[in-house]
Symmetry: C2
Subunit: 765 residues, 2 copies
C-alpha cells in the first residue's frame, strides 16, 4: 500500500514537472555554480536542490584551522571547501555554506580511488601520496543540481546530484580489483584538533551504512546523522581509528575491528569500502542526512531517492530548479542571463532546509521537535541577508520567507536565552556580527503580509531580543543611547544597527497597533544620532564620558568601533531615516558630495588591508561593495535629490562587482545577500530600509523581466532603450501612470502589473 | 484535568500501598546497603528503587583511571564509587553499578557546600582544599531507598532517596549567604582523560536545569540526559570550562558566559548554584535521567516525582521495596533477616530499567525505540548472572525476567552484529568475560514458561549468537571442537562455557520441537571433553596441533586459558553433564575426593595473587567463591553420591562468605549473582544447570520461608531443627511426599505447596 502510494506520488510528481516544463524555459542552463568559487566569492560549485539540506560539493583541500598552534589564515580561503585556483580534489562532502566569511560543515567526505589503499589525503603538490586526485577545469562541469569532474589520478569520472536531503554520487571507474570508496570522517571545513567530538558508524548490511558526526565548531553542539546506500555491495570494508590510545579496549580484544566490523565509533575515524569494478562501471552512492537520527536519515533517503537512479534525481532536481528560476523570466544576452540566474541560484540555496522528510528537527533545546505546517530552515546569516535577500524573498518566495520567520520564532522559543537568531545554523547561534537583524526580517515579512503565525508573539520575540541588556552593549545602548567604545569593540556598528533594527520593530508595532511599543522603539531608533560627530561629519566612537574617541580615523576598519566597514562606509548607515541624516550632514548637496567622495576616493593599501572578506575589485573608491554596510548607499542619492547618481552608481556596481566568471564576485556572496542585491538592483529597485513597503528605484540593467508571483499575479518590468550606456532613467510608468518620486511600493509589485522604464544615455537632472 | 488525574493516581497509589502494608511485614528495615561496601564487595550504599534506572549514591573519591599515563590499580576499588574505608565524601551521583569488577557511570555528581566556592574536589588528606567533606560512619544511615550522611566540613545533612528514574537529594544547610550546590560534570567513575565526550547544560529557568553527559567508557557510545529541579530558585549560578583553548570563541566574546549564562557546553565542565540559606533550611533537588532526551528526563521527573516531597518519595519507594521483599517472608534472627533481605535487595537492583516513563529508549542502533508492552532493561553482567540471578528471577520475578529476555532480544535485533548481549549497559556491549550466556537466560526463561514473546525467534537469536565464528574462537570451537590456546587467551573457559551454553540452546530447541537444532547443539555441548586431559585429570589448554599445553599449572589463573578461575575451579565446569564428567574423572569416589581436595587444599599466595576480584576470605581451600566458575561445585557431591558433603559445604560457604557487615562479602557481588546464590542456597536448592527444570537440593539455612509467587500461589519451606550444627538433611517432604534424589522441580515450586526439610547434626550417608 505504501509502495503503491510512492509510485502514485512519483507519477504525479513527474507529471506535474513535465506539465510545468511545457510552460517554462530551461533556465537552469544559465546557472554557473563556478561563479564566485575563485578568490573571495566563497561559493561552492557542487550540487544542491533549492534551499536543500544537502550541498554535495568537492573539496579542493581540507586544511587545518591551526598551523603550529596558531590560526592558519589559509583556512579562510576554504570556507566553501573548494577554490577554483586549486589543482587537486580531496573528495566530495555533503554540507557547505555558500559565500560565508567564516565556516564549518564539510561532513562525510567521500573519495573514489583505485590502486593501493591510501587513507591520508596527500598534499596538493604530491597528490599521489594520498587519496586526492589532480583535476582540470576542462574536465569539470557545474550546473544547478549537477556537478561532474574527471579525477585524473584515478581515471574516475565523478558526478554529483542531490535532492533536498539526499546527495547522490556517481563514480565511473576503470576496470580494477582495487577500487575503493574512501569515507573520511575526520575531514571537515574549518577543522581543528578536537573539533570532531564523536563519530559513530554502523554497517547495516552489504550496501547500507548509517551513523553520525558530532562536531564542536562554529555551531558549538552539532550532530549530523547520515544514511548511505551503495548501488552495489562492497566486497569488504574497514576502518582506521586515529584517536591514539583506547583506554578501554575490551571491544578491540574480542574482534579484529579494523576489517568488516560493523560497529565503529571514535573521535577520529576514516573508513573505506572495497569493490571490484569493470571498465566504465558506475557505482552510485545515495547519502541522506538528518539533524535527528539515523532512522530519519534512512527515511529521508527512501522517501526522496529510494527508487530513483542518479539520472532520475538529476532530472528531477534540475526541473525543480527550473521551476524556481522561472519565477523571474528575463530577456537578455547569455551573459546577462548567466549573471542573473546564477545570482538567483545563489539566493535560492540559503537558508537551508533543517528538518527531516517527516517534519522532525533537533531544536536549540537539544530536543526533537516537529515543524507543524511549515518548513523549518537554518543557516541564517542575518547581518548580511536582512538587507536584500529576505526582502527579495518577500516578493518572489513569500511562503518560504514566512516559514523562515517561523523558523526564527521556533529558534526564539527553544533557546534558553530567549533571543531571535543572530547567525544561526544547525540549532546553534554563533553570534557572528553585530545587530539583531532578525527583527528586520520578522517585521518586513509581517508587514508585507507573508506571515500567517501569531504576529503579536513575533513582536514580543523582537522586543525581548532588543531588550537583552547583557548582549553586546544593548544595556548601555538602552540606558545611554549609545555604546561606550571602551565597553564594546564594535560600539558604533552596533548602535547604528540597533537603531535601524529598533525602527523595524517600531514599524511592526505600528502595523499591529501596539502604540506603546511603537513609541518606545521609534525613540530608540534615533540613537544613531548619538554617534554622529558634527565636527568631522562622521559616525564616530564615543567614550563613556560622552566625549568622542580622540584617535579616530574614518578610513580604518579595526579598533574604531566598526565591523566589516570603516566610518566612511558606516556613516551613511541610517537606512530608516536618510532625510535626517542628510540634514545633520549639512543638507542634500553636501551629503551628495560626500557620497561622491566615497565612490571616488582612494582607499590606501594600509586600510584596504584591514577590510575583510573582499578583493581589491570589491571596492569602488572607498565604497566597499564586497561587504554589506554600505549596500544601500548608492540609493541615498535619491534622497539627496540626485537620483541620476544613484542610477549611474548602481550600474557601475552591477558591472564592476558581478561578472560571469569564477572570480566574478568582488567579495563573499554572503549567503545570497550579494546576489540578491544584484537581482533587485538589476530589476531597477532596492529595499533601502526593510520594514518599509517602499523600494528605492535605481536603474534596471535588464531589458525585460517577468515576475511570476506566488499569488498568481504577474509583474512585468521593461527597460526601454536600456544599454550599458543608457543607464539613466528618463521616465517611469507603473501601469501607464508615471512615477516621479523614484519610489515603488511593495503592493505595486504584488498586485501585478507593468513597470516601464524609459532609459537614456543622459542624466535627467 | 491532568492535575486531577495525578491526584487520583497518587491517592490510589497510596491507598494501594497502605492497603498492602497491612498484610506485609516492614522488611525493608532489614536491608543494610552498606553490606559489601568494604573491601571487595563493590556494592554502593545509596538510594535506588527496585531495578531503578537511578542509583543515587555517595562517591568517596573520583580518582583517575590512569596515573602518570599508566593504569591506576586504585581505580578498581572505586567500581561502585564508595569505599567504606574512606573518610571523605566528594558528592552524590546518579548512576552506579552494584558489585561489578570493572566500571563506568557516576553521572551528575552533586555536592552541597558552604563558604568559599571551590570547584575542585580536594584530596582525601586535605578535604578542606576542595568541595569534599569529611564524614563519619556514626553519622551515616543506609536503608533500602534511603541514605543519609552528615557532611562534617560543611555542617550539612545530606539525604538521598529515589524513584525509578528520579533521584531526590535533600541537603539541610546551616544559615549561610554562601551556600552552594556544586554540579561536577567532569566527575565520573573509571574516569580517564578524554572519557567525557561532550556535556551540554541548559538552565531552563530559576530552578530547572536540563542537559546531558556523553561519555566513551566501558559503554563506548553513551549519553545520559538529565532534568534537575531545585525546590528553591538559585540566586546565581556559573560554570567553569576546563577544556583549555576554545578554538571558536565567538560565543564567548559576546557574553560573560561564566556567570548566569544559560547555554553551557563543552568537554569538561563544572557548574555551581548559589543560595542564601536559613539555619536548618533544606534544599531538595530532583534529578531525573533519561537515555533519550532532556524532554523525556523532564517528563520522567514530572510523572514520577513532580508533585512529591522528599519524604513522600522516600515513603513510596520504601513501600515499593517492602512489597518486593515480601515476595519471600522468612523467619529467623535479625542477623539472618539482614543477610537475607540485603541479599534480596542486591538481587533486585540489577538489571536496571532502561527506558523512559513513556516507554522510549535509545537502542544499540542509536535510534529511539519504544518498548511495547514490556519494561526494557540494561546492565546485563551475564557471565555472572545467568547462573543464579536469572534463575532466581524465574521463580520470584518471572514477569521481569521475561522482560529481561525481551530486552536481550531487542538488543539482538538492534545490534548490527546480530548477537545477544555478552555484558551490556546503556545500549552498548562491552564484551566483558567469556561465553555467550544470554542463551542460557533465554532458554531457562522460555523453558520455565516466563516468556510470552516469539520463542522461535529467540531461539534463532541464540543460534545466530552461537554461530558468530569470528567472535572469541567460536569458529575454531565449531570446526575443531576446542579453541587452540595459541589463538585465544581464555581458550579453555570459552570452550567449557560455550559447551554449557550450547546445551542450553539444545534444551530450548527440544522444548520448541526444533530437532535439527537440538541435535546440532547437543553435540556441540560435548566439546568440553576436548579440553579434558585424562593424564592430569584437569581441564587443560590444548594447542592447534592437538597436544595439550606443556607448561600447565592448574593452580594458576593467568596464561592458562582461563578467566577469573584456575583449572582447579574450572575443571568441574560441566554443569549440564556432571555424570559424564564424574565418569571421565574416574568415578564417583575419585570425583568426590577431588572436590574434597578443592575445598581443603591451600592456594599458595603466588596463585591467590592472580585470582581476581576477591579477598583471602573469598576462598575456601582452593575453592573460589568470590568468583563464579565454581559456584555450582559444592552441589556436585549430589551426583557423586555424597549429598551430605554438599550440605556441609553449602552451609560453610553461606557462613564464611556472607556476613552482615560492610566487609561481609568475600568478593564482588557481581550484579546480584553472589546474593542470588545466597538466597537460593539458604532456601535449600540451587540451579546447577539453568535450562534444566531441576534444582539440586543443598541445606536450607533458614527455619522457615514463604515464597509469595506472582501466579498467586504460595510455596512454603520449613527446615525443622535447622541450626548452625544441624546442617544435614535427614528427610525431605514435598507436600508430604518424600524426595529422595535431592532434586526439586521448578514446577514443584511454581505450583505452590510445602517443602519440609528435617535437619540433623549427623550426616545421613
Amino acid at each position: 500500500m505504501r509502495r503503491y502510494g510512492t509510485i502514485v506520488f512519483l507519477f504525479l510528481l513527474f507529471f506535474s514537472l513535465h506539465f510545468k516544463s511545457q510552460k517554462t524555459e530551461k533556465l537552469y542552463q544559465y546557472v554557473n555554480p563556478l561563479i564566485g568559487t575563485e578568490k573571495m566569492g566563497h561559493t561552492y560549485p557542487g550540487a544542491t536542490a533549492p534551499f536543500g539540506a544537502v550541498q554535495l560539493s568537492p573539496e579542493t583541500d581540507t586544511i587545518a584551522y591551526e598551523l603550529n598552534g596558531k590560526y592558519n589564515g589559509e583556512v579562510y580561503k576554504y570556507c566553501a571547501g573548494y577554490r577554483y585556483e586549486d589543482k587537486t580534489i580531496v573528495g566530495f562532502s555533503s554540507t557547505h555554506f555558500s559565500g560565508t566569511g567564516h565556516s564549518d560543515l564539510g561532513d562525510f567526505l567521500i573519495m573514489p580511488t583505485i590502486g593501493k589503499l591510501q587513507l591520508n589525503s596527500g598534499t596538493a603538490d604530491h597528490p599521489e601520496n594520498g587519496y586526492r586526485s589532480s583535476f582540470s577545469h576542462t574536465n569539470e562541469k557545474a550546473e544547478a543540481g549537477y556537478y561532474q569532474v574527471k579525477l585524473d589520478d584515478h581515471d574516475i569520472l565523478a558526478e554529483l546530484t542531490s535532492t533536498t536531503r539526499v546527495g547522490v554520487h556517481r563514480y565511473t571507474f576503470p576496470k580494477s580489483d582495487q577500487a575503493h570508496i574512501i569515507f573520511d570522517l575526520m575531514a571537515g571545513i574549518y577543522n581543528y584538533d578536537g573539533k570532531n567530538i564523536w563519530t559513530y558508524v554502523r554497517v547495516e548490511n552489504g550496501n547500507t551504512v548509517t551513523g553520525y558526526r558530532q562536531t564542536n565548531g562554529w555551531a558549538r553542539t552539532r550532530t549530523v546523522y547520515f544514511a548511505m546506500k551503495f548501488s552495489k555491495p562492497f566486497k569488504s570494508y574497514g576502518q582506521k581509528n586515529y584517536d591514539g590510545k583506547l583506554v578501554y579496549n575490551g571491544f578491540w580484544r574480542k574482534f579484529d575491528q579494523t576489517k568488516n566490523f560493523p560497529e565503529i565509533a571514535g573521535k577520529n575515524l576514516k573508513m573505506y569500502f572495497d569493490f571490484d569494478t569493470e571498465e566504465n562501471e558506475a557505482i552510485e552512492i545515495k547519502l541522506a542526512i538528518s539533524p535527528v537520527s539515523q532512522a530519519n536519515a534512512l527515511e529521508n533517503l527512501e522517501k526522496e531517492a529510494g527508487k530513483l537512479s542518479f539520472d532520475q534525481v538529476k532530472a528531477q532536481t534540475q526541473e525543480i530548479w527550473n521551476n524556481e528560476l522561472n519565477k523571474i523570466v528575463i530577456k537578455g544576452s547569455d551573459t546577462e542571463k548567466t549573471n542573473f540566474y546564477t545570482a538567483m541560484y545563489h539566493t535560492f540555496i540559503n537558508p537551508t532546509t533543517y528538518m527531516d522528510a517527516n517534519g522532525e528537527y533537533k531544536g536549540l533545546d537539544q530536543n526533537i521537535h516537529r515543524a507543524e505546517n511549515f518548513t523549518n530552515y537554518t543557516t541564517f546569516s542575518l547581518w548580511d541577508t536582512y538587507r536584500a535577500l529576505h526582502p527579495f524573498f518577500n516578493i518572489i518566495q513569500p511562503k518560504r520567507n514566512g516559514d523562515m520567520v517561523k523558523s526564527m520564532i521556533a529558534h526564539y522559543d527553544q533557546f534558553s536565552m530567549k533571543m531571535l537568531p543572530i547567525w544561526s545554523h544547525y540549532a546553534n547561534d554563533n553570534w557572528c556580527m553585530s545587530g539583531y537583524h532578525s527583527v528586520s526580517v520578522v517585521a518586513d515579512a509581517i508587514i508585507k503580509g507573508n506571515y500567517d503565525g501569531d504576529a503579536k508573539a513575533a513582536l514580543r520575540a523582537c522586543v525581548a531580543t532588543a531588550n537583552k541588556k547583557d548582549y553586546e552593549g544593548i544595556g548601555q545602548y538602552i540606558d545611554w543611547g549609545y555604546i561606550p567604545s571602551e565597553k564594546n569593540g564594535t560600539s558604533v556598528s552596533n548602535t547604528l544597527e540597533y537603531a535601524y533594527d529598533d525602527w523595524a520593530i517600531a514599524q511592526l508595532a505600528k502595523h499591529l497597533g501596539e502604540t506603546e511599543i511603537y513609541t518606545q522603539f521609534i525613540k530608540r531608533s534615533e540613537n544613531w544620532k548619538n554617534n554622529f560627530d558634527k565636527s568631522t561629519g562622521f559616525m564616530r566612537p564615543r567614550l563613556a564620558d560622552g566625549s568622542f574617541k580622540k584617535d579616530f580615523n574614518p578610513l580604518s576598519t579595526h579598533g574604531q568601533g566598526f565591523i566589516e566597514g570603516n566610518s566612511w562606509n558606516y556613516t551613511f548607515f541610517v537606512p530608516h531615516n536618510p532625510d535626517e541624516l542628510i540634514q545633520l550632514m549639512g543638507g542634500k548637496k553636501k551629503f551628495a558630495s560626500k557620497v561622491d567622495e566615497l565612490f571616488t576616493m582612494h582607499l590606501p593599501d594600509e586600510f584596504f588591508a584591514d577590510t575583510e572578506d573582499i578583493t581589491r575589485e570589491g571596492i569602488i573608491g572607498g565604497y566597499v561593495h564586497g561587504n554589506e554596510p554600505a549596500h544601500h548607499v548608492a540609493y541615498l542619492y535619491n534622497w539627496a535629490g540626485q537620483p541620476w547618481k544613484t542610477q549611474a552608481q548602481i550600474r557601475r556596481i552591477l558591472e564592476m562587482q558581478y561578472k560571469a566568471t569564477p572570480d566574478g564576485l568582488g567579495g563573499n556572496d554572503d549567503a545570497g545577500q550579494m546576489s540578491a542585491w544584484y537581482i533587485l538592483s538589476s530589476l531597477g529597485f532596492y529595499p533601502v530600509a526593510p520594514g518599509s513597503e517602499e523600494y528605492a528605484i535605481g536603474s534596471p540593467a535588464i531589458d525585460h523581466a517577468v515576475l511570476n508571483l506566488e499569488n498568481g499575479k504577474i509583474f512585468e518590468i521593461e527597460a526601454i532603450h536600456q544599454s550599458p550606456k543608457n543607464v539613466y532613467v528618463e521616465k517611469i510608468l507603473l501601469n501607464g501612470k508615471e512615477i516621479k518620486n523614484f519610489s515603488l511600493k511593495h503592493s505595486d509589485i504584488m498586485n501585478g502589473g507593468k513597470l516601464s522604464f524609459f532609459m537614456s544615455a543622459k542624466a535627467k537632472k
